[in-house]
């Protein structure tokens, strides 16, 4: 999948720009606070329909009524035109090939992968960050899974509400229990299946990045005792047993105490928990492996090469890791990389360089590479 063209109007600090990137590696450079990340955000929204920053309505340029994002993707040899309007009150309208459509049908779901410094939280943050990464980033390729997560979370909300208020009828509670077990088991079953495809890819990629002496292992930690995950019915039975043994505690604490919404994943490096024992560099390498494996998984499942958005992560990696990442991408992927400096290691793989300054965008050919060090003086 490729982004061929992007037109922005009143988007963040951009008044109006027209951007026609290369199908290979596009470097977006320029001094700080000039709009580099804003451009990545625009690409992300045009493909996914929502922002990776806090509120969608914040993208409307100060004082404007609305932002317009027009983009043109190439998917399997077909052109997909996307037109997105974001009103200042957050209202969004999405047109795909000229007709109004839902954001879940946007081309980005075939694979837009975002990699940014905050991704370290996948390892270092609370369990919810790891679950969200699995459910929304890795699981996003499967619409059935996405919908399932949404339904499951709603059931948990209902069940927690019953527990909080108390005074419910037993027959009513039983129904929400049954829904909780049924949906929870299906989420867990599908999640484990997903991870069985994903974990080995992460492990292999990590071995390439870090060498054979470091063995990465990932373990799924279930909040319920699970005898196995070969079938949904088996998990339902385990949940029924768990539910009975924890019923009193749940009533006392007034919330649902087990289920896939309370599970976690640990990352072990040579059998030691990386959160406690890993160096900053090791954590970065694991995150890099997670993203590279995500790319590989998307490629296998959708047959499309995902678009990579790398926001300020290049300079955080050492030369070896920069090399690995660039080699991985430069095969068939289109990539957008924001950076204040272009490391020498990657300059020969770069296809196009864009210079961003105060909301304007200017293409600089390959030859202008030598100008780049001047950036810092501006």
């Amino acid at each position: 999948m490729f982004l061929n063209e992007l037109l922005l109007k009143d988007f963040r600090n951009y008044l109006e720009i027209n951007f026609s990137p290369d199908q290979g590696i596009n470097i977006i450079t320029g001094p700080n606070a000039q709009g580099k990340t804003n451009l990545l955000e625009a690409i992300f929204i045009s493909g996914m329909g929502f922002s990776f920053r806090l509120k969608d309505k914040d993208v409307v340029r100060w004082g404007s009524e609305q932002s317009i994002l027009k983009s043109s993707y190439q998917l399997d040899g077909f052109t997909v035109d996307v037109h997105i309007q974001v009103k200042f009150d957050g209202f969004k309208k999405i047109l795909i090939n000229g007709t109004e459509n839902d954001r879940k049908n946007l081309p980005g779901h075939y694979g837009i992968i975002l990699f940014r410094p905050e991704d370290l939280h996948i390892i270092k943050g609370p369990p919810s960050q790891r679950r969200d990464f699995i459910d929304y980033d890795i699981g996003s390729i499967n619409p059935v899974y996405r919908k399932l997560i949404q339904q499951y979370k709603r059931i948990i909300l209902h069940r927690n509400n019953l527990l909080r208020r108390g005074g419910y009828r037993q027959d009513e509670f039983k129904i929400w229990n049954e829904e909780f077990y049924r949906y929870g088991a299906e989420v867990l079953y599908r999640r484990i299946k997903l991870l069985k495809n994903y974990f080995p890819l992460v492990r292999d990629i990590y071995a390439v990045i870090a060498g054979k002496n470091e063995i990465l292992d990932m373990k799924y930690l279930s909040s319920a005792k699970i005898s196995g995950s070969t079938s949904i019915d088996q998990i339902i039975n385990d949940f029924i047993i768990e539910g009975k043994s924890r019923e009193k505690e749940e009533i006392y604490k007034k919330q649902t105490l087990f289920g896939p919404h309370r599970d976690d994943i640990t990352f072990l490096l040579n059998n030691k928990d990386i959160r406690n024992f890993g160096s900053q560099g090791q954590v970065r390498s694991v995150v890099l492996a997670l993203k590279a494996a995500q790319m590989e998984l998307f490629k296998r499942q959708s047959g499309q090469n995902p678009i990579m958005l790398l926001d300020d992560v290049l300079m955080e990696l050492d030369e070896n890791r920069q090399n690995y990442l660039i080699k991985l991408i430069s095969g068939n992927n289109q990539a957008f990389i924001t950076t204040t400096e272009i490391p020498k290691t990657i300059s020969r793989h770069v296809d196009r360089i864009y210079f961003i300054n105060r909301g304007t965008i200017e293409e600089r050919g390959h030859t202008s590479l030598r100008n780049v060090p001047n950036l810092r003086e501006e």
Binding site: K104, P143, V144, Q151, H158, Y168, R169, D171, E179
Partner: protein, 198 residues
Amino acid sequence: MQYAGAVSRLIGELARLPGIGSKTAQRLAFFLLSEPPETAEKLASAIREARERVRRCSVCGNLTDLDPCRICTDEGRDKGIICLVQDPRDVAAVEKYRGFKGVYHVLHGVLSPLAGIGPEKLNIKNLLTRLEGGKVREVIVATNPDVEGDATALYLARLIKPLGVTVTRIAHGLPVGAHLEYADEITLGKAMEGRREI
């Protein structure tokens, strides 16, 4: 903006209606005030009359100006089949299809602990009274296919089945006239699960 007391009260009351925001409420209010007085009076009396005369049918719970309602007293309808819906709008929706010759039962909501709705707030007691006679053969549960609608369907099935009544759930799947290529994966999955031999 501030308006004379009566005007802002009218706008306020209109804005309480579903689907009406403050802008639309203003438009409606000024329309009513700029038209001849009869327009507003007709509307007011229509609202008053409807509110006074329309009530819930004591049998099925649907909104009606006759009790029992026209559907419940219709001799041509099969009282042995009850279609269970969540609100009166759904009766109108199923009626449009014209092929259904049974009767209805309106729940006036679905189970939703989040909204504080438990079984005691739904029109279930009347349903059980109707089923007691033993004349009802089948209950078709036609609540919406979402989390709350499904939970409600499951709850009612548990309640009704022991009475010896067949409980069915309406099928979920592709709308008629829809093209397969435009169907989303979830709907398509449901349609596959519910396939039939031809």
